[in-house]
């Protein structure tokens, strides 16, 4: 199984001296195609830092982050941005749709940013919205949609253009439990279709949707469950 995302002995330190915070310490982590990995841990354990590093929004203090075999550090800011347009999809707790754009425009955004012609991009976006079940709301603005609908738009935006890595940061945090389950089911479907998914959550029942669960505390992987646990433990053992 090829790993779409690979964090190799990654450390991220925020600040200096007295205010230094080690958000992640020597963490190694893989996510493969067709696999949904849940990352769990209490507040401040480094879950979100892991996601921002995986998406190239932030750079590690040491160690390497590779997506589809490419070390993100070797790409410039522009290259990492291209990566996010073509390979990586983000889903946030607060949806983070752009209120000035309609649903279909929000979904078409990564394609348009990548230079795809508007008409083509919108067609692809409509298909993606159909896939998440809200094709009829395509021309609405986010302010006129429910939370669940907005999160579906966000997922459609994360997968549009056949992106193979989906990074979801507490995607159900702002939703009621039933809607939340629907959203997770959608993520599961995308992974079964061949994407690699990383789901950051602090709710154990959401982790049930995942193939594998990684536990973080104070920036260190303290436990791993699931099919590839042995490989993960082995790697973390090697680095100690």
């Amino acid at each position: 199984m090829s790993s779409v995302l690979h964090l190799n002995v990654v450390t991220r330190v925020h600040g200096e001296g007295a205010t230094e915070v080690r958000a992640l310490r020597d963490v190694s982590f893989r996510a493969s195609a067709g696999e949904l990995v849940a990352v769990m841990g209490p507040s401040g354990s480094g879950k979100s830092t892991l996601l921002t590093l995986a998406g190239g929004l932030d750079a590690p203090t040491s160690g390497t982050v590779s997506v589809e075999g490419v070390d993100l550090a070797t790409l410039g800011n522009g290259g990492r941005a291209r990566m996010r347009r073509t390979s990586i999809g983000y889903v946030f707790q607060d949806f983070n749709l752009i209120p000035a754009l309609t649903a279909v425009e929000n979904v078409a955004l990564p394609l348009e940013l990548d230079g795809v012609r508007t008409r083509t991009a919108r067609a692809a976006a409509r298909t993606a919205l159909d896939e998440v079940g809200i094709g009829d709301l395509a021309d609405r603005f986010p302010d006129h949609m429910s939370g669940g609908q907005q999160q579906r738009v966000a997922i459609a935006r994360a997968v549009v253009g056949d992106r193979r890595l989906i990074l979801a940061d507490e995607p159900t945090g702002a939703l009621d439990s039933e809607t939340g389950e629907d959203i997770l089911r959608l993520l599961r479907v995308r992974c079964d279709a061949g994407a690699a998914g990383v789901l950051v959550t602090h709710e154990a029942r959401h982790a049930a949707w995942a193939d594998r669960v990684v536990f973080l505390r104070d920036g260190v992987v303290i436990d791993e469950t699931g099919t590839d646990a042995a490989e993960g433990l082995l790697e973390s053992g090697v680095t100690r």
């Binding site: 800011n77 347009r85 209120p99 955004l109 348009e112």
Partner: protein, 864 residues
């Protein structure tokens, strides 16, 4: 705290505390508002300080005019009783019959036995290398203690007798040095020797000479009446009035320094100074209102963004029991805090800037400034203006904040309410009112200009109500645009509290520039349209009147010396001595010409062909006229239709009938002569001929040559002048005004757009972070910023240009077609400038914004 008054004070204290904290927290935005309000305050303060320093008040100028004397007494009207203002220079007039002028002894007695020193002020012409230069002069015994302060001796010594003078640096620059003899025109006695350099306390760059009585040959009559400086005790207003009755005016130190009540000034004099006060007040009020509006509009977006940033805390305040009034107060307090700080800062820095600028401006001025002067009452008003503009800018955001939907804010939705459907109707009504007022203004004479200016303000206010609808319309149309402009247009429409004032600020600026631009260009068109050439285009001539032939020879020498390449042709005129030559058409009634000037020394020229210098004759007419002159006929100019082929030429009892060409001057020229007769006819009538002008032809005359020749000719005679017809020359001042207008418009437009754009960018931080997360390249931020600037600049410029036409078109009527004139109205729209404003400037602004925006997108560790 149950007392209502105390509650209000506490509530304001709380609001001010929150506002001050918020101002410190959002430093960038606070600095922006501070700069925007402090800058105009600073500029006005500095200008006011400069004006007050530059102007010399009666009290400040006393030593310049009196030296150390107690009073200056002038007998201006041969002894007629006088009435005067406290300072006779502010107004004085004779009031009664001529009587015996008071002698020095009488005046001295009236002043309680004061010692009198004769003073004669006036002007002299001093010889220079090129001709003569004028200089101000004063004759007084400079060594007398009473004259101390009249001049400021910088080197050499004061004159001791009538053979010595002191001059200022400006006169030395005309080609003199200390120990030279000063060559004064018309002075019979030997020329005085320059013994020192002394600056006039008033004149800086104008030549000035001072010496004892008799040294300069200034006659007492020329100096405006016998004048004395009085050394003695203080001269009271009662004494001044006594001397007025004797026929003298008095500048009294005691009266100026401690004036009696204003009612003491005779009513006749008092009315002199209050002539144009209303017009000035109206103009100042207009400028203040427009400036206030502009500053309010520029600062408005900053308060709108502040209020939005605070919206969560304000909603929490409301959720925990705060009233809408309290919410409003918090936002308004932001205006009070920033406006107050900006006002104080602006005034202090403005005084400093004025102090620094005084020596700089002094270099450009021809007179010496008074002492450094800080006009505190004015500055208090200027500071109040700054404070008021900030508070006004905060009003709309405050009202909106107090009405916000608490639930929506706490749920994180962040758009403005939909606009009222009534507001565009109000806007259209206001603009309609403005049009009506402007049209009325074009028909109502003197007050018209003020009505039109009022219409301008009304139109800008009306436009404010229309801007939201236009912004929303632009957003609707943006669906097909590429991502960045689409995002910018939609975001602008969603956040109208910050977009509308910014667009309106740009629009108000553009409206002002367009209106003034149309006015200035049309005024220029009127000047060009009503310009009458003195000579034919490209011709040059020396003209003069009453000059003896010897003087003309001297002038001709001067022309050959200064413009050696030129041909000099004599233009002969029929001399006015004895009976004059008259020409009539046999079958024509009434005069041939209604009006005429004599540009060439006489109304009748004597020549065998039409001299090339005569303007306003078409080529065909010229050929026809030359042909008739060659046949021995005359050319008569007319402004009527004359079909005759002959003319009767008379002088006294002599009379001949000869062939004639009747020529009309081309449109737009003013007849410079009545007729041209050939030498034979002049001879037959016995008319004398003399030189009327010298045509200088055959070469282009440079500006330097023109200046040198003019100076040389004025040395020969004061009644001769040299003129080169270069056609209509646009006033340099007009061009400068246009440039300043365009520059000011550009700066204000850039300011308004930049403010709105950077506030929008800071407001759009979460959106930009999202864009980054879904893969926007760093350049995208620049694209969004430039698009935002383009939307604000373009919408504002188009609206402003449309609105600016209302007062712009209207003002051309009173400006170029005044009631008493029969020309105009002239209308010339500066399309190029308007195109530049509407298309060019928004693009340039967008480019500047795009280039100056940080390209880094927000890379937040945890996206909120």
């Amino acid at each position: 705290m149950s007392r209502p008054g105390a509650g209000r004070v506490t509530s304001w204290r709380l609001a001010l505390r929150i506002a001050a904290r918020e101002a410190l927290r959002a430093r960038g935005r606070s600095v922006l508002v501070l700069v925007m309000i402090a800058l105009p305050v600073l500029a006005v303060t500095a200008a006011d300080v400069l004006i007050q320093t530059q102007s010399v008040s009666s009290v400040e100028g006393l030593d310049r005019r009196l030296g150390s004397a107690a009073a200056q007494v002038v007998v201006p009207a041969e002894g007629r009783p006088m009435i005067q203002a406290f300072d006779p220079y502010d107004g004085n007039t004779s009031d009664g019959r001529k009587q015996e002028p008071p002698a020095a002894a009488d005046i001295s007695a009236a002043l309680g036995g004061a010692r009198l020193v004769v003073e004669r002020t006036g002007g002299v012409d001093v010889r220079t290398d090129k001709g003569y230069a004028s200089a101000d002069s004063v004759e007084v015994d400079l060594r007398d203690p009473v004259a101390a302060g009249l001049v400021d001796l910088t080197s050499g010594r004061l004159p001791q007798d009538a053979g010595e003078v002191v001059v200022n640096r400006a006169l030395l620059d005309k080609g003199y040095a200390v120990a030279d003899r000063l060559d004064i025109r018309g002075k019979d006695a030997p020329s005085p020797v320059i013994v020192g350099v002394a600056e006039s306390p008033e004149l800086r760059t104008y030549p000035y000479v001072a010496g004892p009585v008799g040294s300069l040959g200034v006659s007492a009559a020329y100096a405006g009446g016998p004048t004395w400086l009085a050394a003695g005790g203080p001269v009271s207003w009662e004494t001044v009035k006594d001397l007025n009755a004797m026929g003298a005016t008095v500048l009294s130190r005691a009266v100026i320094e401690d004036p009696p009540p204003a009612s003491e000034v005779p009513a006749e004099i008092r009315s002199w100074s209050s002539g144009s006060d209303n017009a000035v007040i109206a103009a100042v009020a207009l400028v203040v209102v427009m400036a206030l509006l502009e500053v309010v509009l520029l600062a408005g977006p900053a308060f709108a963004v502040s209020a939005r940033r605070q919206s969560r805390s304000l909603a929490l305040m409301a959720a925990s029991g705060g009233t809408p009034a309290q919410t409003r107060r918090v936002v308004l307090a932001g205006g009070v805090v920033l406006g107050g700080a900006a006002a104080v800062l602006g005034v202090i820095l403005g005084i400093g800037a004025g102090w620094l600028l005084v020596p700089v401006v002094q270099r450009w001025s021809s007179t010496w400034f008074g002492p450094f002067d800080v006009p505190w009452p004015h500055l208090l008003g200027v500071a109040a203006f700054g404070l008021a503009s900030a508070v006004l800018a905060a009003v709309v955001p405050a009202v909106i904040a107090s009405r916000q939907d608490v639930v929506a804010v706490l749920a994180g939705r962040r758009a403005d309410r939909p606009p009222s459907a009534r507001s565009p109707i109000a806007g259209v009504l206001l603009i309609g009112g403005a049009v009506a007022m402007a049209v009325f203004g074009t028909t109502s004479g003197d007050t018209g200009a003020f009505l039109i200016a009022g219409a301008a303000i009304l139109a800008v206010l009306g436009m404010l109500f229309i801007v939201p609808v236009v912004v929303i319309g632009v957003a609707r149309l943006a669906g097909r645009l590429p991502l960045s402009p689409r995002y910018a247009a939609r975001d602008a429409a969603r956040h109208r509290t910050r977009t509308v004032p910014a667009v309106a600020a740009v629009a108000a600026t553009v409206a002002g520039v367009v209106a003034l631009g149309i006015a200035v260009t049309s005024d220029e068109a009127e000047n060009r349209g009503t310009y009458t050439p003195t000579l034919a285009m490209g011709q040059a001539a020396v003209t003069g009147y009453g000059l003896k032939p010897a003087k003309w020879d001297e002038i001709e020498d001067a022309v050959r010396r200064e413009v050696p390449d030129a041909d000099v042709e004599l233009v002969l005129a029929a001399a006015g001595r004895g009976s004059s030559v008259q020409i009539t058409a046999p079958h024509h009634r009434g005069p041939l010409l209604e009006t005429m000037t004599e540009n060439f020394g006489s109304s009748i020229l004597v020549a065998g062909a039409v001299p090339s210098v005569v303007p306003g004759v078409s080529a065909a007419d010229r050929a026809r006229a030359d042909e008739v002159l060659a046949r021995g006929g005359v050319v008569a100019f007319t402004d009527d239709r004359v079909d005759d082929e002959t003319a009767v030429v008379r002088r006294g009892h002599e009379r001949v009938t000869v062939p004639a060409a009747y020529v009309r001057f081309t449109a737009g020229s003013y007849p410079p002569l009545a007729a041209i007769v050939p030498p034979a006819v002049a001879e037959r009538l016995g008319a004398e001929t003399s030189t009327g002008a010298l045509a200088v032809t055959g070469t282009d005359i440079s500006a330097t040559q023109q200046e040198n020749l003019s100076e040389a000719i004025s040395a020969v005679s004061r009644n001769a002048g040299f003129y080169v017809e270069r056609g209509y020359q646009a006033d340099q001042g007009t061009k400068i005004v246009q440039l300043v207008l365009a520059g000011l418009g550009a700066v204000l437009m850039l300011g308004g757009t930049l403010t709105a754009t950077f506030l929008a960018l800071s407001d759009a931080r979460p959106d930009l972070a999202t864009l980054s997360a879904v893969g926007a390249s760093p350049r995208r931020r620049r694209g969004v910023a430039a698009s935002y600037a383009l939307v604000v600049g373009f919408v504002g410029a188009v609206l402003g240009a449309v609105v600016g036409f209302i007062p712009g078109l209207a003002i051309t009527v009173p400006l170029t077609a005044p009631a008493y004139s029969d020309t105009g109205p002239f209308l010339d729209v500066p399309w190029l400038m308007i195109l530049g404003l509407v298309v060019g400037l928004p693009l340039v602004t967008a480019l500047i914004v795009g280039l100056s925006t940080r390209s880094r997108l927000p890379m937040v560790a945890r996206l909120e």
